[in-house]
């Protein structure tokens, strides 16, 4: 299934709650302030690297670019545009938004 996270891991516990229950094989899409969870060299990077071991992690490129952090993404994170966002929703058979 597809998990959508739109909050910074430094501001709320949404990403941590998501990572706790997102199964191996599931996809996690980071949008809006959620893109800060995709960055390398942060307090959160280890948790995300662990997630990348058995889950697919995507970031909405437009949101990363808006925030000036598109060049700081962890290796292994896929960048998608809104078309790709639509494809992810269509491909998976369930969507959980971690508001």
């Amino acid at each position: 299934m597809l998990h959508i996270v739109n909050k910074s891991p430094f501001a709320t516990t949404a990403l941590a709650s998501c990572l706790r229950v997102a199964k191996p094989g599931s996809t996690i899409l980071l949008i809006e302030d959620g893109v800060y969870g995709a960055l390398d060299g942060t307090r959160n990077s280890d948790a995300m690297r662990e997630a990348l071991a058995d889950r697919t992690v995507c970031v909405l490129g437009a949101d990363a670019a808006a925030r000036g952090v598109a060049d700081k993404l962890l290796d292994g994170i896929d960048v998608v545009d809104y078309d790709g966002f639509v494809d992810l929703v269509a491909a998976d058979d369930g969507v959980q938004s971690w508001l």
């Binding site: 199964k23 369930g94 508001l99």
Partner: protein, 138 residues
């Protein structure tokens, strides 16, 4: 999955504390309306959402409506699969006994009163999410 007439699995996910924001209350309003659609409904309370079910709320001092008695009506609406994250309770120092005792009557067992609340852990929550057709987030 969207076959007309087929019953769908609907899950309402509640992750926010009551009163600080209105999401808990307005989510409950959706559940009540949704009950008329006769789908396969579950509720999941995790993170600060578990605070929504704490008993003994008294809102007089903040001048807001205490909507928590409504939870006890859910059983009459055939909403009786209420899942509560046991880890969320534990890290908040809460036990099942701190929550409202929500029940429903099973018409297949001579209206025996049964508990609506089921404590679930990480793996069960992961399964629960995967099993749904539709998830409403608040």
């Amino acid at each position: 999955m969207s076959e007309a007439g087929a019953t769908k699995k609907l899950l309402y996910v509640n992750r926010k504390a009551p009163y600080g924001t209105i999401y808990a209350w307005e989510s409950l309003e959706v559940v009540l309306i949704g009950a008329a659609f006769e789908q396969d409904v579950s509720l999941l309370f995790m993170d600060d959402g578990v605070y929504q079910l704490v008993k003994g709320m008294d809102t007089k001092g903040i001048g807001m409506k205490n909507f928590s008695p409504t939870y006890s009506a859910l059983g009459d609406y055939d909403v009786n699969k209420i899942y509560v994250d046991e880890d969320a309770l534990a890290e908040r120092g809460l036990a099942l006994d701190d929550l409202q005792h929500l029940v429903w009557e099973d018409e297949n067992e001579d209206w025996a009163e049964k508990d609506s609340i089921h404590l679930v852990g990480r793996d069960e929550i992961a399964d629960l999410l995967e099993q749904q057709d539709v998830i409403f987030n608040f």
